[in-house]
């Protein structure tokens, strides 16, 4: 015990995993006890069993996978769009002061505008079709992404670029062969973080203007007081998020074995 609680002390991977799993189990246990003893109305907090039943049912009738599928599609499209435009612009902002002067103040301004406030506007512009949701995800991630990618580009040490010049690299070579590979791991970390935020904005869009998707399924469940379906919706989003994050982490480990921070 004394060792485990040493300030900034290390613990084994196995112990770490064990403690991690135990926190999940603890919550499920508390949840089971509270609902089992009938301490809370099932309408407010359904039992884990009910939630599991709903999960199995919606998986079997295809609703859950359908909704998850359409939500993932929207996330991927909106996020890809943000990456396709945001990454090159971000790199330019982080590399050329003139581009920065043009883009950064604008981005700083826009990113303080709450994305949910844009939902009605987007609906006016593009109705409630697929485009609207993709645009919301795009708006939510694009401006943040530009600024964060710019920071990634700026984090490349001057001396790394300077060395390449003294080895004969010209501007374009320095960007292609030094700046891009050097910033790549940080950039992937940025993407990993931003795709998490994309879910927030997607659910906002689906809550307001949709007839499909996980956000919509949550809203619909609320209308019919199907609290367990709300739980299933939220948990599903959580699990998809967790899987995405782990995949990104794995990808980063595989792509950048040379990175200092990469064990």
């Amino acid at each position: 015990m004394h060792k485990v609680f040493k300030i900034r002390g290390k613990i084994s991977k196995k112990l770490y995993l064990l403690i991690g799993i135990s926190s999940f189990l603890l919550i499920i246990l508390l949840w089971t006890i509270v609902t089992g003893l009938g301490l809370v109305e099932p309408m407010f907090l359904p039992s884990p069993l009910k939630v599991t039943e709903n999960f199995v049912e919606t998986v079997q009738n295809g609703q859950l996978l359908n909704n998850a599928g359409i939500s993932i599609y929207r996330i991927v499209m909106g996020f890809l769009l943000a990456v396709i435009f945001g990454v090159p612009i971000g790199i330019l902002v982080g590399t050329f002061k003139a581009v920065e002067a043009f883009i950064r103040p604008l981005c700083e301004f826009i990113r303080y505008m709450p994305v949910p406030a844009f939902v009605p506007l987007v609906m006016v512009w593009s109705g409630i079709g697929e485009g609207a949701k993709i645009i919301i995800v795009f708006l939510g991630t694009f401006f943040q992404l530009v600024l964060m990618i710019a920071d990634d580009a700026m984090s490349v040490p001057d001396d790394l670029l300077n060395s390449s010049y003294t080895l004969g690299a010209k501007r374009w070579t320095a960007i292609r062969k030094v700046l891009l590979p050097s910033m790549a791991p940080r950039m992937m970390e940025t993407l990993r973080m931003t795709i998490g935020w994309a879910w927030t904005y997607l659910v906002v869009a689906e809550l307001v203007a949709s007839s499909s998707g996980l956000g919509y399924s949550i809203l619909k469940a609320q209308r019919f007081f199907q609290t367990e379906a709300i739980f299933v919706g939220i948990l599903t989003i959580g699990v998809i998020g967790l899987i995405t994050d782990r995949l990104f982490a794995l990808l980063i480990k595989v792509m950048f074995p040379w990175d200092e921070r990469n064990g």
Binding site: N162, Y165, L167, E260
Partner: protein, 275 residues
């Protein structure tokens, strides 16, 4: 004009060296404007570096020696004055002036071998030729078995050895070195000094080496420029007439100690009077 230093040890004709001034810096000034005032970093710097010469510029931190080297590299520009490389004004960085930095600047996504290849691959040299050059430098820096390693697997001393090889493989006109051993422990530092001097004794690249370590400067150089601070200017030019083949024991020789004392006095005489 100082007597040619090389002539003493190599018996090369005096004129051959005199004629080949590789770098000439004339009346270099560098001013910085901060919010409050104008700061003079460099004042009227005049230096001459000959072909195949190993020159050290020694001075306390903040004397502007790194700025001077950056200007030689073309990575910074003087407020006034002129610098010539082989008679041509320096307008920017280029492969003719290789540089080794104090900070570790190996490309971390490239192996040791790929790092050394970087400059060569930017030029029209055949793959076979490149490999030959890389192999010979890997041997010189004793890192043949690390050719496939990434920089993160190397110690600080090894990283700097690769950085030196990377710069020299490009066969630059001048090798500029900005306190390359400043972050290394004393033992590794001495090893690196020996290795660098050894490489110089064999290949005779023209080197300009910045340091605040007086011993390092004397041990490595044929000529030492001593810089004083506030504003940064050349206080003294000192020829080092130690034997051509340098060995660590020389640091205890009478000649070495005399030089150390002399440069120390030039650098820190102001402190003495102030105290």
């Amino acid at each position: 004009m100082s007597k040619s230093i090389l002539e003493d040890q190599t018996g090369m004709p005096l004129e051959a060296n005199m004629a080949s001034n590789k770098i000439i810096a004339r009346h270099i000034f560098k001013d910085y404007r901060t919010k409050k005032k104008e700061v003079r970093a460099l004042q009227d710097i005049n230096i001459e570096i000959q072909d195949n010469e190993f020159v050290c510029i020694v001075g306390p931190s903040g004397c502007g020696k790194s700025t001077l080297l950056k200007i030689l590299a073309g990575l910074d520009f003087p407020t006034a004055g002129e610098i010539l490389l082989n008679g041509k004004t320096i307008v920017g960085p280029g492969e003719d002036r290789g540089m080794v930095f104090q900070s570790y600047t190996l490309f971390p996504w490239m192996t040791v071998e790929e790092n050394i290849k970087f400059g060569l691959k930017l030029r029209k040299i055949s793959a076979g030729e490149i490999q030959k050059i890389v192999d010979s430098y890997l041997k010189k820096i004793h890192l043949e078995e690390f050719r496939k390693s990434y920089p993160k697997e190397l110690s600080g001393g090894m990283k700097q050895r690769v950085a030196i090889a990377r710069a020299l493989a490009n066969s630059p006109e001048v090798l500029l070195m900005d306190e390359p051993f400043g972050a290394l422990d004393p033992h590794t530092k001495e090893q690196m000094q020996l290795l660098l001097r050894e490489i110089w004794e064999v290949e005779k690249p023209t080197i300009v080496f910045i340091t605040h370590d007086i011993d390092e400067a004397i041990f490595l150089a044929n000529k030492v420029y001593v810089m004083s601070t506030n504003p940064g200017e050349i206080a003294e030019e000192e020829g080092i007439y130690l034997p051509f083949r340098r060995e660590v024991e020389m640091k205890d020789s009478q000649q070495f100690i005399r030089l150390r004392k002399k440069i120390n006095r030039i650098l820190y005489s102001d402190d003495m009077t102030a105290n």
